[in-house]
């Protein structure tokens, strides 16, 4: 087993497959209080934050923050940004996802102590290899427990 290291710019995860399933869209839409029946069909389009369910896919080397040396008790979720290069993914599509750490930087916290920002970009490509979406996930590692 390799020694875990802090996430660094350029760290890349193993590519992984994500199948956009209608039942999962329905479950996720219901959990986010959707009411429009268009979310519930066999060819539904996924809600804007649906790609967060990619954690159910991939292996241990796919998710770059999960294999790094991170103290999760000191982690705050900062931002989440979804970009779609066309309509968002629809049920029945198979995407290939890959994560990369694209930025790591420190900022002085308002209440003292440094905060380390880690930005992970996940790109999603369709069967033809075209980029269909990307997500920028920002977590903040505080210098003491996040309370």
């Amino acid at each position: 087993m390799t020694q875990p290291t802090s996430p660094a710019v350029g760290d890349r995860g193993e590519p992984f497959e994500l199948v956009v399933e209608p039942g999962k869209i329905r479950e996720f839409a219901t959990a986010t209080k959707a009411r429009d029946p268009s979310w519930f069909g066999a060819d539904a389009i996924s809600p804007p934050t649906f790609l967060t369910t990619d954690r159910f896919w991939g292996g241990p080397d796919s998710h770059v923050l999960e294999r790094g040396a991170i103290d999760w008790s000191r982690i705050l979720h900062g931002e989440e940004e979804y970009t779609f290069y066309g309509r968002p993914p629809a049920a029945g599509e198979t995407l290939t996802a890959r994560q990369e750490v694209v930025d790591v930087f420190a900022k002085a916290g308002r209440r003292g102590g440094d905060m380390k920002f880690i930005i992970v970009r996940t790109e999603y490509r369709n069967a033809a290899g075209d980029l269909v979406a990307d997500v920028r996930h920002t977590v903040i590692e505080t210098s003491k427990a996040a309370t």
Binding site: K24, T32, K33, H77, P88
Partner: protein, 135 residues
């Protein structure tokens, strides 16, 4: 939620607001199961207390998801091109969140929106931004 005419929206127009039901622990659990984020701080009372919180608090991504479906249902899920959220103050069980949006730019058939999820106290739980195809 009332209907809107996306093609007629102008800079400064406000979207119809969505006042959600009070947040419940069941909302947190259902979202966590659906998303796969099982952080116990959002559903395990003992764990949350031992971490120094008075009780469990809302998953930020739950509000983000509701803000996302709010925008998608107004403009159509196929029309969302960008959606960004920034997590601000925590939300707690029984909080009533109001989801709002304002048009801040129009470029031909695209609109930029500024969004928020605001607690009954006036505190901002989430800030958001979206770009949608509109008309």
């Amino acid at each position: 939620m009332s209907e809107i005419d996306p093609a007629a929206l102008q800079v400064g127009d406000m979207l119809p607001e969505l006042v959600d039901e009070p947040l419940t622990r069941t909302d947190f659990v259902r979202y966590q199961g659906a998303s796969g984020d099982m952080n116990p701080i959002h559903h395990d009372e003992g764990y949350a207390r031992s971490a120094g919180f008075p009780t469990v608090f809302a998953v930020g991504m739950l509000g983000a998801g509701i803000l996302g479906t709010y925008v998608a249902e107004l403009f159509g899920p196929e029309n969302v091109r960008k959606f960004k959220v920034q997590f601000r103050e925590q939300a707690w069980p029984d909080d009533v969140l109001t989801y709002t949006g304002t048009v801040v730019a129009r470029r031909e058939n695209e609109l930029d929106l500024e969004l928020a999820a605001t607690r009954q106290t006036g505190g901002v739980h989430l800030r958001g931004w979206a770009t949608v195809i509109a008309g």
